[in-house]
């Protein structure tokens, strides 16, 4: 890749201005209607530059809602989200999102190349450089010569790689991911987890990843934000003092991993 891997292996998150800051975020659906429903009650946390933050919570806690608020797709009912210092109005240009459902977020009428080209065309990248960049990101996510295929001709894991490649194509500062590995098999899931760690350190981007899988959160994150059940509040923010680079076999069998896992499990299933 064009970026040398100079990322430090741990992020203190102190001293620097946070990239993303969430203050007293509240979100209600159908406000003023009889079926009004509070999805997020009160969420506050910060994400430092280069940090990997996972958000976990029980099913229906409002994780997707939170992520949509963070991305600017959904306006909060009250509270504030700031990205790189500015309050969020629309989806920021330096931010990318990977949705859980790759089969619905990729365009089946476009080849893999053209899917990945979408953000590059928007950015007005010339054709020649576009092709180079597409080859580069497809290589970065471990996809070889599939550019001319359609997404539906690929396996689920490969499709999600395409979605990640598309999200990375215009070199974002921050990646938001909503349960990106929930619909692939266990082995592919491990591969994709390692892929995202590698991409993160290679490109030096900030990642916020939502998941309901506690093991995954511990394995990936620098810090884990634990949400309560709906309407969600922040139960606790747990730092993960595991070293990097991480390794599926070694990291997952560490003592610290087991303790964190246990602690998070207690938090999530407490009610």
């Amino acid at each position: 890749m064009s970026h040398p891997a100079v990322t430090p292996t741990s992020h203190s998150g102190t001293g620097t201005e946070p990239v993303l800051s969430v203050r007293a975020l509240q979100k209600a659906y159908n406000v003023g209607k009889p079926n009004e429903r509070l999805a997020i009650a009160d969420v506050t946390f910060d994400v430092a530059k280069g940090e990997f933050v996972c958000v976990v919570g029980p099913s229906g806690a409002g994780k997707t809602t939170l992520l949509r608020c963070l991305s600017g797709l959904l306006a909060p009912t009250s509270g504030e989200v700031r990205f790189e210092g500015a309050p969020l109005q629309e989806v920021p240009a330096r931010l990318s999102v990977v949705f859980q459902d790759y089969s619905r977020s990729l365009m089946p009428w476009l080849t893999v190349n053209r899917n990945v080209a979408l953000p590059l065309k928007v950015a007005g990248v010339a054709k020649r450089q576009r092709e180079d960049r597409i080859a580069e990101v497809l290589h970065a996510v471990g996809l070889g010569d599939v550019g001319r295929n359609y997404p539906w001709q690929l396996s689920g894991g490969m499709q999600q790689r395409v979605a990640i490649a598309r999200a990375l194509a215009h070199q974002p500062d921050m990646l938001l991911m909503d349960e990106p590995f929930a619909s692939v098999d266990a082995q592919t899931r491990f591969d994709l987890e390692d892929l995202i760690l590698k991409v993160r350190s290679d490109l030096d981007i900030t990642v916020v990843l939502v998941t309901h899988d506690i093991d995954e959160a511990v394995y990936l994150a620098d810090r884990v934000v634990v949400l309560s059940g709906a309407p969600s509040r922040v139960e606790e923010i747990v730092p993960v003092p595991l070293g990097r680079p991480r390794n599926q076999l070694v990291t997952r069998s560490e003592e610290t991993f087991a303790q964190l896992r246990r602690h998070l499990m207690e938090l999530v299933t407490a009610h």
């Binding site: 797709l73 089946p108 009428w109 476009l110 065309k121 928007v122 539906w152 001709q153």
Partner: protein, 311 residues
């Protein structure tokens, strides 16, 4: 000349059009009624393919014509000695077909019909997609305009014919207007429906990728709704052909429809039959062309559905 009483109110016109009224039309079901797609879905997942497959496809299609050929042969043999005025021998019809339509004067009738159809169908298709897209884009206006549109929509076009003839006379503009008025509906309603059915996550994706509204429509909404738009266009094609004939039957001096009516009135039954056969051939060729275009435009859809069904 008075129009034959049942010609303008051909029941198919009303019925085929109303098939699109329910706005819950399932794109998959709608498109599944296209035999070309069913065939293509079975014949392989990758769009396109080698010359070998093409040849085999052609052969299997030709093979499926066996019944049609049998009917023709039977007609030829059984009608050979016919002395009935209404059912002349097929040999005579074939001879007359050549004399009138290929060597003779009726060619100008054919061109006249095709020209009006081409202009009318193109306008109906473009307008149908455009108006459907606008109704989707501007929902509030759409809600206000919809009742009016449905009000016009439920009027059988046949009932408007006298008015249109009175206003526009019997020239080309009258015929084109009739075709457009009748053929626009399936395309428009299917476009609206298809666009309403776009996967919301795709629109979110467009926002996340910062696509402009125009780029979103061009790259996400239009292709996403394309299976239903094509179903609508196909429907419009059939209605367009019907209205092309109807417009020539009610008030005209040229066209295939006029030829048929005129032949019948001077009791030239053999020639009348040739007109009907030409109409059938024109309809078949147009449908065939449409299917060929559809296979290219919807190659991704046909392929994706084949994968879905297998998985």
């Amino acid at each position: 000349m008075t129009p034959s009483p049942d010609a303008p109110s051909r029941p198919e016109t009303g019925r085929t059009a109303s098939a699109d009224v329910p706005s819950v039309a399932d794109p998959i079901v709608a498109a599944a009624t296209t035999p070309s797609q069913q065939f293509a879905a079975r014949s392989g997942r990758a769009p396109g393919g080698g010359a070998g497959r093409l040849l085999r496809g052609l052969w299997s299609n030709l093979w499926r014509l066996w019944f049609f050929v049998t009917v023709l042969v039977l007609w030829w043999v059984l009608s050979a000695d016919s002395t009935s005025t209404f059912f002349p021998p097929l040999r005579d019809i074939a001879q007359s077909l050549y004399d009138t339509w290929i060597a003779g004067e009726a060619r100008s009738d054919l061109w006249s019909s095709l020209r009006h159809f081409a202009v009318g169908y193109t306008i109906a298709g473009v307008l149908g997609v455009a108006v459907g897209a606008l109704l989707w884009k501007f929902q509030r206006i759409g809600h206000a305009v919809s009742p009016v549109l449905y009000f016009i929509y439920v009027i059988p076009t046949a009932a408007l014919l006298p008015a249109i003839v009175a206003i526009m006379g019997i020239g080309s503009s009258m015929k084109i207007t009739i075709i457009v008025l009748a053929a626009i509906w399936p395309t428009m309603l299917n476009t609206l429906d298809g666009m309403r059915g776009i996967e919301p996550l795709r629109l979110d994706t467009a926002r996340v990728l910062h696509m402009s509204p125009l780029a979103t429509v061009r790259s996400i909404v239009l292709p996403g709704a394309m299976p239903q738009i094509m179903a609508g266009l196909r429907h419009s094609l059939q209605i367009g052909v019907i209205m092309m004939v109807v417009s020539e039957l009610i008030a005209s001096r040229e066209g295939i429809g006029f030829f048929i009516l005129e032949a019948q009135q001077r009791f030239a039954i053999t020639e009348m039959w040739t007109g009907i056969i030409v109409l059938a051939v024109v309809g078949s060729i147009l449908t065939f062309l449409f299917i060929a275009v559809e296979r290219v435009v919807l190659a991704w859809y046909i392929g994706a559905r084949a994968v879905e069904q297998k998985g």
